[in-house]
């Protein structure tokens, strides 16, 4: 049973990890995009529709990534080129995404979806427990893990990553050094959109292979909280995402186990745990000023107008 529970936790955590990783890169470049929920639901709609039309969940994944990425360009254009307020634009992006995705998916409501099947490796997949958990997963799970490793390397070991962080910390200095702030930020925003789109694809192709309007049901907001929870560190996103997922699944099982034992655990309390944990972490990291300064991108959310 433990194995079955773990598999459920992986399914529930993957979209959170993916969307949060994308937002992490965006925020590291100094842009705050609150439209994660909107980009995620766009990804879910595009992925589902493309998979239904072509019969291939892999084309669906591609469509989800493109859907989220292209949709985020709208945010990029408004906030980077037209220098609109990032918070307001991000919120608008969420509202627009929820409406637009409903329109895209309207004809596909109620259709049984195509589930993305796990990849089976010879021998490895048959190892008891670990093999069945780690080597019998779908492509999106492997991508999420690869992205954690890749983004960590990119941000802290590569030259381009260093430039991206420099822009996030002080766009004026980075600009003075000759780094193209706007172009880098466009790319970071699009990467965030693509990741959110992939997270959406996971929802409509793996988690619950169907399309219903509003099906992301607030997961984009959890991903946003996760970025702060992880204090802008990729590995902590992985840990935090799985913690959120595990608490969510664990509380459902706790309810049943409590019933078997005849004790009472208020389910509302358990549902609120991940959010309470975020608040506690926020208190801790803002208490220690040095870690806050090290990890928080200093120009986060500030508009940048290059002086000519």
């Amino acid at each position: 049973m433990f194995e079955a529970i773990l598999l459920t936790v992986i399914t529930a955590s993957t979209p959170l990890v993916l969307a949060a990783l994308g937002e992490l890169v965006t925020e590291r470049s100094g842009v705050l995009n609150l439209g994660v929920e909107g980009m995620m639901i766009m990804g879910a709609a595009c992925a589902f529709v493309a998979a239904q039309l072509t019969g291939s969940p892999y084309i669906g994944i591609l469509a989800g990534i493109l859907g989220g990425g292209i949709f985020s360009l709208l945010f990029g254009f408004l906030t980077l080129t037209l220098v609109a307020n990032q918070v307001a634009t991000g919120l608008a992006l969420t509202i627009l995404g929820l409406g637009l995705s409903g329109q895209i998916g309207e004809a596909f409501v109620g259709q049984p979806g195509i589930k993305l099947q796990p990849i089976v490796f010879p021998f490895l997949s048959d190892i008891p427990f670990f093999g069945r958990i780690l080597f019998r997963q779908d492509l999106i799970f492997y991508v999420s893990i690869a992205l954690v490793v890749g983004i960590n390397w990119f941000l802290f070991r590569s030259r381009t990553g260093l430039k991206l962080r420099a822009i996030g910390d002080s766009h004026a200095s980075a600009h003075a050094l000759g780094i193209n702030v706007i172009r880098t930020r466009y790319l970071a925003v699009m990467f965030g959109g693509a990741c959110a789109g992939l997270a959406g694809a996971q929802l409509s192709l793996v988690y619950t292979p169907q399309w219903v309007e509003n099906m992301s049901a607030g997961r984009g907001w959890i991903a946003l909280a996760l970025v702060v929870f992880a204090s802008w560190r990729p590995w902590r996103i992985l840990a935090g995402g799985y913690l959120f997922g595990a608490v969510g699944i664990g509380q459902l099982h706790a309810q049943i186990v409590a019933q078997n034992l005849g004790i009472v655990i208020p389910s509302q309390f358990l549902s609120a745990l991940p959010y309470a944990a975020t608040i506690v972490v926020l208190i801790i990291i803002s208490h220690n000023r040095r870690t806050t300064l090290i990890n928080t991108p200093a120009s986060l959310g500030k508009p940048f107008v290059p002086d000519r």
């Binding site: 459920t8 529930a12 409903g102 929802l203 619950t208 309007e213 099906m215 409590a258 009472v264 509302q268």
Partner: protein, 357 residues
């Protein structure tokens, strides 16, 4: 997107009174407030089908604008008020959680008629309407007891309100009428609408050993999980057979259309009165989806129970019934009062869960 257009239309009407010109006055507006999306495959879809039937029947005399995805809570009041101001003559608010908001707005607009689904607070211009879903749940319980090999069913619940508690109790009573030892595991998802969470709850129940699922949440995700794991399940609010052709035993299908037509006709005739209506299987406000994926004798039993409930011969809440803690509730032959059912805040014997307070 339609939501946006309606919102824009509503605010346009609010800002410029000119939009309610001669044409608009000829057609009365009958408005709907939905908690979910109109294509959720469950609860809200059933209401929207009712609205469409109303449109078909009386479309020459009425318009039927609607707002979907209205969250329960402070936003609901604003949404209902906006609808009221946009020139509606009759407003249907279709979720239990809209109760207090509807009461407040109804008090502000004495000339507009309001109807709130599944609530218990009425007023001079505020009627309530409800469906005896528990009749369907009793039948489901009987089927579950016949079909379950382990004698344990899983119940995905939303919020601990009387409506949901009543359904859980009716299911357990139906099951116990067949198998006195039947057990019911309840998981509270604390949401009406979240496909992922509903699926998680379904998986948790199956992993914990139930072999039949029923739900009181709005999407087809649990049905899909049951189908994937090869167990049987019941649909909720709409016929969910498409999500589980080999899984769904039956579903409680809400059929609000005839009610909406009846009440709108009363509005047009000027005979609309505030009432507290609670109709059941016999009135056609709820119907059972075809009994599928079960042997003929179980099907015959279900049909017989359905007929008995329709004729009034059988009331699911007929004593002797004990409360969960073993104390007596109804004496032999005694039937539950409607008022008690509508405020139900306790379990009957046999439910394993402890009711969240």
């Amino acid at each position: 997107m339609k939501k946006l257009i309606i919102a824009l239309a509503a605010s346009a009407a609010l800002m410029g009174g000119f939009s309610t010109g001669a044409v608009a006055q000829e057609k009365k507006k009958v408005c709907f407030i939905y908690v979910g999306s109109k294509t959720d495959g469950g609860w809200t879809q059933a209401h929207d089908l009712g609205r469409q039937q109303l449109d078909k029947a009386l479309g020459a005399k009425v318009e039927t604008p609607f707002l979907e995805n209205v969250p329960e809570g402070p936003d609901a009041e604003r949404a209902i008020e906006r609808m009221a101001r946009s020139g509606c003559s009759l407003v249907f608010t279709t979720s239990f959680g809209f109760m207090d908001a509807t009461v407040k707005v109804a008090a502000k607009f004495p000339d507009i008629k309001f109807e709130h689904a599944t609530g218990f607070k009425a007023g001079p211009n505020l009627a309530t309407y409800n469906s005896r879903f528990y009749e369907g749940r009793y039948i489901q319980g009987q089927i579950a007891a016949k079909m379950s090999k382990k004698g344990v069913a899983g119940y995905i619940a939303s919020f601990p309100i009387p409506e949901v508690v009543m359904g859980i109790n009716a299911f357990e009573l139906g099951a116990k009428s067949i198998n006195p030892n039947f057990k019911l595991k309840v998981v509270w998802a604390n949401t009406w609408f979240d496909p992922g969470k509903e699926a998680d709850a379904a998986k948790a129940l199956i992993d914990q050993g139930v072999d039949i699922l029923t739900q009181h949440t709005d999407t087809t995700a649990p049905m899909q999980v049951a189908s994937e794991r090869g167990i049987l399940a019941f649909g909720q609010a709409s016929d969910m057979i498409a999500a589980g052709p080999k899984t769904q035993l039956t579903a409680i299908v809400d059929t609000w259309g005839s009610y909406y037509i009846k009440r709108t006709q009363a509005l047009l005739d000027g005979t609309w009165k505030s009432e507290q209506i609670w109709d059941g299987l016999k009135d056609g406000i709820l119907t059972m989806a075809p009994y599928t994926n079960m042997p003929d004798d179980v099907k015959a039993m279900a049909e017989e129970t359905e007929a008995k409930i329709k004729s009034g011969e059988l009331h699911p809440f007929t004593g002797p019934i004990n409360k969960q803690d073993g104390t007596a509730w109804l004496a032999a032959g005694e039937k539950a009062q409607d008022g008690v059912l509508l405020g139900m805040n306790f379990y009957v014997e046999g439910v394993d869960d402890k009711l969240p307070k």
